[in-house]
Amino acid sequence: MIATPTVDLITVNIDGKDVAVPKGTNVIEAAAKVGVDVPHYCYHPKLTVVGNCRMCLVEMGLPAVDPATKTPVMDPATGKQKINWMPRPVIGCATNASPGLHIRTTTQLVKDCREGVMEFLLVNHPLDCPICDQAGECKLQEQATGYGRGYSRYVEDKNVKPKRTVLGPRVTLDDERCILCSRCIRFSKEVAKDDVLGFIDRGSTSTLTCFPGKQLENNYSLNTVDICPVGALTSTDFRFKMRVWFLKQTNSIDTETSVGANTVVWSREGQIYRITPRQNDEVNDTWMADSGRILYKQVKAEDRLTHTSVAKQAASLAEAITKASELIKANAGAVRLVASGKNTVEEQFLIKHLADSLATKTSLISRVGAGDNILVSKDHNPNVRGALLTGLISELPTAQLTTLSSEIDSGKVKVVISFSEDLTAAGISESQLSKVQVIYIGTHHNKTSGLAAIVIPSLTVFEKSGTFINQQFRIQKFVAAVPGPAGVVDDLVILTHLTSSLHGTTVQLTQAAGLLAQTWTSLSATIPSLAPLSFSTIPDTGLLVDSTAFAKLPFVETETLHFKPVV
């Protein structure tokens, strides 16, 4: 895979513990390496350092050197080089590791500093945790347990600021809760490239806002909610819906484009409440697009397919599989498959297997759309590379199924199996579709499913587990967050049954999880670049796979965060 470049490591000492870190690492990060937490608000590893919250004040010392001779001054008591401690505390976020740097985070001075900052942050804070969405994931709340006074010495009136500013279509602001850390301003400017937020007025009356008439409406606006350390910026969608501590977190992958931003799906009792980004320094840092956060709404969408049908009549899955198998057998040689760039690697592998057994071809429909050079690439299919790697396709997909169209017209094709794709969006007319028998295996209703002879509902990305291969050829896994609708089974189950039915064998209805492991056994045995892997050994942040075989393909993606196209 990819070799990590060697970096110069230097040794620093945090609370008496030596740790080797790359030169220039800041004290907050260096301390984290030895398990020392340096509390902070304004510092964010992916944004410029401004050092304004003052929560990360620590004591700093440097090895003593005789100014005249430039030789180390030794401490006779310890036999080690003497450390000159600075009388004033320094901020950890802007103090970078230099050889022999010593840091103390447990002294009375550091404790006083933290308590002082906490008290100051709270004097003008509304302390409305019981009605605040941030409760449970609020840094103020968290640090108040360690460094709060427990009572207030503040008897004056608190600042009054706007309470419900609609900053944009998805973000609501409570200025009284804002601690003026400026993370959101820096994010908008530095990452989203939309310099739309700012502070007006000054001092303690400073207020976060947009210029009148402008809105925080870029496709990354909700990241400001994620990085807001307090409850000032809230997601209008999630506001007042659910206490975060009731929510279960499941690792997932954003399917809107081939970037494959890493995400966390937050759910409770089978219902998804929100999607937030998951840190992956090689893919999406700590960000994701707003558009990817509402994808969970497809789970309970009105056009969601929940029932199996044969010739528009409700049927059991077994009946549908039998009918489909009969249909395919009756039209041997005249069956075509249309798979999807939204299918998982495992599904694509089984579809390829199915295609091989029918000695037929599989098409994929391309989804090329606008990219933003940040975390939305031009390929709106999350997994075209999976289809390439599994051998399902050998060339890049096209938007129009022209071959299939002429094959239908010439009568060469009698049966089309579509995996969630609407063929009418790819140049096949409804009248063409009515000339053939369609077997539709998918999550949502569309014109194709409406015209299909057999419809088998399947699961969304939130209800199943699997992998995608993103634009970097990084294989990334996701896990089922919520159960699917009653009676709807995993695509892998459907595919396995269909294949065995065609072969005249019957299999027991297998659990999807077992099937996933089983599929991986054959995947790694069949595809050399996946050879050492199994689903469980893929790291949470994914793994780059060998892509040399596809180096010459004219992929549509242009530069995005952490991705440069191979020229």
Binding site: C53, G116, L121, L180, G203
Partner: protein, 452 residues
């Protein structure tokens, strides 16, 4: 009583002296610049180092050292910024230079620019000096026309222009990195140091010198008389002259230029300024701009200090304290910007502090938590006290709030806003404790001269 020694203020208020270039040149103006450009720049820097000149803006940092920290190897252009923000309450010396003798500053600037190979210079003048800005613009136009500023000055290949940049009423722009942000067209939030030391990463991330108006005027005279000769003025370590601005309760407030350290506070207030107002006695003095720690009359200061090569004991009353950087630092305050604010026995210290706290709460930029919230909190406490809500414990609370600010912020504003509170409470603690009693008597609350 020591005589004033007017070097910088030589022509201030002198009859017939006008601020145009003709008058300046008739009085020998720009001759020093003409001579300076014939010398090697390094020699000029050396003269300034030898002179022992310390910055007159507030911190008293060695000017020569400041220049020597400049990153000359980066290949980036070097900038000079004149800090003419004169924003420390109690200070009003630069006003007179800018209004009455602008060419003195321009000459000092051009010598500094030549010595440091500065590419472009700006004068950051406070917004409250609209007239001063116009005078400077006119003076610069004259100096450009006379070839002292601009391209190939006085027949050399050296070029450097000076532009005037007006502030708009923000104290924080007196902080050098806040000032730089302000010139860059941003909110004047002081920068974190490290890494943004102006000498390395200043204006437009280029090496930058930021000097006070008076400091650069001294440079002109150092170039004229030589660093050696200049260093003999004043006292060792506190060389040259300095302008002391006296305001408040004295008979003759105003500005006075003395050799540094050759005058005591008592001489300044009693002899030079004529003593307290009739029927009054001095109560307290802030010796270096409103952020300097207050001193109480009647206090005694004892300790050892270096005089020449040896250590000597000192036992001073407030009147005996020499007005220099080191002596004022020794007794726990600072010479700062030279603004001496005097308060007599008519003043309630709680009310005076309330006035000061209102200033700092208004001027905190709001960037750092302790200063932003602490300065406002202190203001609210002192306001409440004055408005009849004083509690005996407020003094201790005030001090504690101030203690949580100083030394914990990006810039020195943290100290500037907490030192008054810390020192007022320390020196006049009793008054803070009993203020509640005093204000119970409603007739006593009607201060004859309200401060808030």
């Amino acid at each position: 009583m020591p005589e004033q020694r007017r070097i910088i203020f030589k022509h201030i208020d002198s009859p017939g002296y006008t601020n145009d270039i003709a008058c300046y040149q008739q009085n020998g103006g720009y001759e020093t610049l003409k001579a300076a450009v014939l010398r090697k720049p390094e020699e000029l820097i050396e003269e300034v180092k030898k002179s022992g000149l310390r910055g007159r803006g507030g911190a008293g940092f060695s000017c020569g050292l400041k220049w020597s920290l400049l990153d000359r190897k980066s290949g980036k252009p070097i900038y000079l910024i004149v800090n003419a923000d004169e924003s420390e309450p109690g200070t009003f010396k630069d006003r007179y230079i800018l209004h009455q003798d602008p060419h003195q500053l321009i000459e000092g600037m051009m010598i500094t620019c030549f010595a440091n190979n500065v590419k472009q210079a700006y004068i950051y003048i406070r917004g409250e000096f609209p007239e001063g800005a116009r005078i400077l613009e006119k003076a610069l136009a004259e100096a450009r026309k006379a070839n002292f500023v601009g391209s190939n000055i006085v027949g050399t290949t050296y070029s450097c222009d000076i532009f005037v940049h007006r502030g708009a009423g923000a104290y924080i722009c007196g902080e050098e990195t806040g000032l730089i942000e302000s010139i860059e067209g941003k909110r004047p939030y002081p920068r974190i140091k490290p890494p943004f030391f102006p000498a390395v990463l200043g204006l437009y991330q280029c090496p930058t010198i930021v000097n006070n108006v008076e400091t650069l005027c001294h440079v002109k005279h150092i170039a004229a008389m030589g660093g050696e000769a200049y260093s003999k003025i004043g006292t060792p370590g506190n060389t040259g002259t300095r302008i002391l601005c006296v305001s408040g309760h004295v008979k003759r407030p105003g500005y006075y230029e003395f050799e540094v350290g050759k005058l005591t506070l008592g001489e300044l207030l009693n002899d030079v300024c004529g003593g307290p107002l009739p029927g009054r006695t001095f109560k307290a003095v802030i010796p270096g701009g409103s952020s300097a720690k207050i001193l109480r009359f009647g206090e005694r200061f004892k300790g050892k200090r270096k005089v020449g090569a040896e250590m000597q004991d000192y036992d001073w009353g407030l009147d005996d304290v020499p007005m220099d950087f080191d002596s004022l630092a020794m007794i726990g305050s600072m010479a700062g910007s030279g603004g001496v604010i005097v308060m007599d026995d008519s003043v309630s210290m709680v009310e005076a502090l309330a006035n000061i706290n209102a200033f700092y709460a208004h001027e905190s930029c709001g960037q750092c938590t302790p200063c932003r919230e602490g300065s406002l909190w202190m203001k609210r406490i002192t306001n409440r006290m004055v408005l009849g809500g004083a509690r005996p414990e407020d003094g201790a609370l005030l001090k504690n709030v101030a203690d949580q600010i100083a030394g914990r912020t990006i810039c020195a504003f943290g100290e500037a806003c907490s030192w008054p509170t810390q020192s007022f409470v320390l020196k006049f603690g009793e008054e803070f404790k009993t203020y509640a009693e005093r204000t119970k008597d409603s007739s006593a609350t009607l201060a004859t001269t309200p401060l808030v």
